[in-house]
């Protein structure tokens, strides 16, 4: 069997899925970072025993038997899938995500659900279950899936890359996040936020493990209308990266922190024999604005389904149907979700439609054209992923900092491009400096291979 980099290290010499699962369960039980919203002992112990039996019968694969967590926006049949929201805090869906089904089939063991910003709309402070403490600095915040991998609870995680916060959180926690091209992984069973952008991404300590996990969930799913026709994906991480040209976007040099991230990223590229070329674009600096408008427009429609009738939170007191809707939604949804919903209705209203929503969709095309032209010359693009260190406790209340950092993560989200997020080095306090590489749609393997060539 091929070696799996960090996943092999994580196994600590043990060769049993039951032992790996028990190790993860013990670490999860001791978790003081608030990484997980749910730990399903019964399900994962039964699953690990079943996998063990299959392994005894000759079933094998690079990640077979390993435990993982899934962000709480990825539904598991019969298991609470809250999306970090009070609205869904008691919601046990009657069907599960296609990605989970595929990992069940591939013999991986789901130990629980990872904490997240509310419904993928809110930032680090918005989860109904409280914020996640950063694994490298207790004064700071992180995302649950990234923190679970960074603190070695599990070697692997699934998370929904919606606005790119999962990439930023992963790289700032010192782990790797692989985001596939849009349409590669089924969104069936994902609690929707920005339907035209979001994809399930994978998180691990190294690109090799994250790409291997991705190849298990990627492939056509007839249940998802946006799923691409290709049946399966394998990512060749051995493909040549040295000698390639990489565009380093100068649009993202706005301050000391992002400049340092880029410098570290460029230094890694040079060490790997890649030629970095500084490039300035016309539209990149607007991408986060277009993404914000599209996210609000799609998000307000996606949250309109929460009405307190069919599933989810229902207010305890109401006198009529209108009050049932209003009190359930007002009490069940948090401040940042409300903000997105109000903004969404605003940008879609007749008076503002042309100035905001139409403009955002036009800008998306202009960016697409600009990136297409860039990719003809440079197959890869390097950018930083944040304007500053992971947020201090309370700093992101209201989501202003998450919005600020969307500036760096927006292009791959908005255009459905493959990306890999990683730490390019450390700052003076030892915290990772986050960077990402991204490439043209469908060039997932080349992007992941380039990050692997950087030693990630």
């Amino acid at each position: 069997m091929a070696t799996m980099g960090f996943c092999d290290d994580w196994k600590s010499g043990q060769s049993s899925s039951v032992a790996w699962t028990e190790k993860a369960l013990a670490a999860a039980a001791a978790d003081d970072l608030n990484c997980l919203t749910l730990l399903d002992r019964q399900r994962c112990q039964a699953q690990s025993q079943e996998v063990e039996q299959r392994m005894a019968g000759g079933f094998n694969g690079p990640l077979v038997g390993l435990p993982y967590v899934a962000e709480d926006a990825i539904m598991v049949k019969g298991q609470i899938s809250s999306g970090g929201s009070r609205m869904l805090a008691n919601f046990a869906p009657p069907f599960g995500a296609e990605a989970i089904r595929r990992l069940d089939q591939a013999g991986l063991v789901l130990i629980g659900k990872a904490n997240m910003g509310e419904l993928k709309m809110g930032g680090e402070e918005s989860s109904y279950f409280g914020p996640v403490i950063h694994p490298l600095d207790a004064a700071r915040r992180c995302g649950g899936a990234a923190a679970a991998v960074a603190s070695d609870i599990v070697p692997l995680a699934l998370a929904v890359d919606s606005l790119g916060e999962v990439r930023r959180q992963s790289a700032q926690a010192g782990v790797v996040c692989c985001k596939p091209s849009y349409g590669t992984v089924s969104r069936f069973g994902v609690i929707a936020n920005v339907s035209s952008c979001e994809q399930i991404a994978t998180i691990a300590r190294d690109v090799k493990s994250a790409a291997a996990l991705l190849s298990l969930i990627a492939g056509h799913d007839p249940k998802d209308g946006t799923s691409l026709p290709q049946e399966s994906y394998t990512y060749d991480l051995q493909q040549q990266t040295a000698g390639k040209k990489v565009a380093v976007l100068l649009d993202y040099q706005t301050g000391d922190y992002d400049r340092r991230c880029l410098e570290q990223g460029v230094s890694l590229l040079r060490q790997a024999g890649v030629e970095p070329v500084e490039v300035k674009t016309r539209y990149a600096a607007y991408a986060h604005l277009a993404l914000t408008v599209i996210a609000a427009a799609e998000g307000c429609n996606n949250v309109s389904r929460f009405d307190g009738v069919k599933y989810g939170y229902r207010a305890p007191e109401y006198r009529n149907m209108e009050e049932l809707y209003c009190y359930s939604r007002s009490q069940g949804l948090g401040m940042e979700v409300k903000q997105e919903a109000v903004l969404g209705v605003y940008v879609l209203a007749k008076e503002q439609y042309q100035a905001y929503f139409q403009k955002a969709l036009q800008l998306r095309r202009l960016l697409w054209q600009e990136m297409e032209a860039l990719f003809r010359e440079y197959p890869l693009i390097l950018t930083p992923l944040a304007a500053g260190s992971p947020y201090l406790a309370g700093e992101d209340r209201g989501g202003k900092l998450s919005f600020r950092d969307r500036f760096y993560t927006a292009i791959p989200s908005l255009l459905g491009l493959p990306a890999v997020a990683f730490s390019a080095g450390e700052d003076e306090t030892g915290l990772p400096l986050p960077c990402q590489l991204f490439g043209a749609q469908g060039q997932d393997g080349a992007v992941f291979a380039a990050a692997a060539a950087l030693g990630k």
Binding site: D224, Y286, L289, V309, S330, V342, K359, L361, L363
Partner: protein
């Protein structure tokens, strides 16, 4: 965004907000709109809008009767159910 418009959009969303929460939300939305101003001012000419990143296809199943999710499974998620149906307040007198 004028306060009246904000109130209207809150009502569209079925949000009832009062006091500090309402003020905080209003100020957050206003802040966000200020950030979005450069987009509204950008000249995109007659560029056609780009809605989808892939060519969407309608997902249709074979026209055969099959069991998907049972009524019981769906009702198990409901905040309140009775006699095989969702319970809501009266919608007509």
């Amino acid at each position: 965004m004028e306060k009246e418009k904000f109130d209207l959009y809150c009502r569209f969303n079925k949000f009832i907000l009062e006091g500090e929460e309402k003020e905080e939300l209003y100020s957050l939305v206003q802040w966000r709109l200020q950030q979005l101003a450069p987009l509204a001012e950008l000249d995109c000419g007659d560029t056609p809008p780009m809605v989808y990143l892939t060519s969407l296809r309608q997902v249709l199943r074979e026209d055969t009767v099959e069991q998907t999710i049972s009524r019981q499974e769906i009702l198990a998620c409901a905040p309140e159910e009775q006699d095989g149906a969702f319970v809501t307040p009266r919608v007509a007198d």
